[in-house]
Assembly symmetry: C2
Homo-oligomer: 143 residues x 2
């Protein structure tokens, strides 16, 4: 057992901010991470980007809407190829805010964000990222 194990591993590459947003734009589903009743919580959501902000929709009375009200949340998206042992993950951290301005809501309605589940989802949440981190994993060809 090696007590000098490192936090960073060979085969893990840190991604720049523009790469992170390009990757985010390539997938429809991410995961919002928040606190619910003092416990860590996570929920997959479909999303779009509005500039660098993540926009999601939810039901007005949903737990997600309640738990993320002006809270600092994380948002993650990733993609993996099990056969090639490659993949990437991007994590944003920032404050979630309900979008209440009607003009802004009309703008967001044009972004093509259609929830996969049915039911009324009139509530828009905007996450303004303050921290942006991405990593790509690529197992060296030699192994």
């Amino acid at each position: 057992m090696d007590a000098l194990a490192r936090a960073d591993s060979p085969g893990l590459e840190n991604l720049g901010r523009s790469d992170c947003f390009a990757l985010l734009r390539s997938v429809p589903i991410g995961r919002i991470v928040f606190t619910e009743a003092a416990l860590p919580a996570i929920q997959p959501v479909n999303f779009v980007l509005d500039g660098d902000d993540v926009i999601i929709r939810t039901g007005m009375g949903s737990k997600l809407a309640a738990a993320t009200r002006s809270a600092v949340v994380a948002f993650e998206a990733d993609e993996y190829d099990e056969d090639a042992l490659t993949g990437w993950s991007v994590v944003l951290v920032g404050r979630a805010e309900a979008v209440v301005d009607e003009a802004e809501r009309r703008e967001l309605a044009t972004l093509g964000l259609t929830p996969w589940a049915l039911g009324e989802r009139p509530h828009y949440i905007r996450i303004r990222p303050e921290i942006v981190r991405g990593r790509r994993i690529r197992r060296p060809a030699a192994l």
Copy 2:
């Protein structure tokens, strides 16, 4: 705008515990959700199940090892089909514990948990789920 929007949506089906574990066994990657410097944090990991416990490996000095030391964490896995608008997500919540017993570590070494990234990862973490929740999303055929 409908102020009476529901937390549960048509097309979302809650899954039973055995279905949740069967789905978890079908994927190699999950995401561990924890708190780091008072902020929500999430990190993809590959994992195996040991009974109903989630087992992951990490570097001894890693942030993940430090942040999850006897902490309550969430663990999530999911799978989505973008074309069919279907998918599932399973979330466990429980206490994470470092596995320090040598006999237990030798047992876990037989489970075939090979980290995708290289580097020494001698540290096993066991998550004992106390809460198990799963949802399947399936857009009704009529739409």
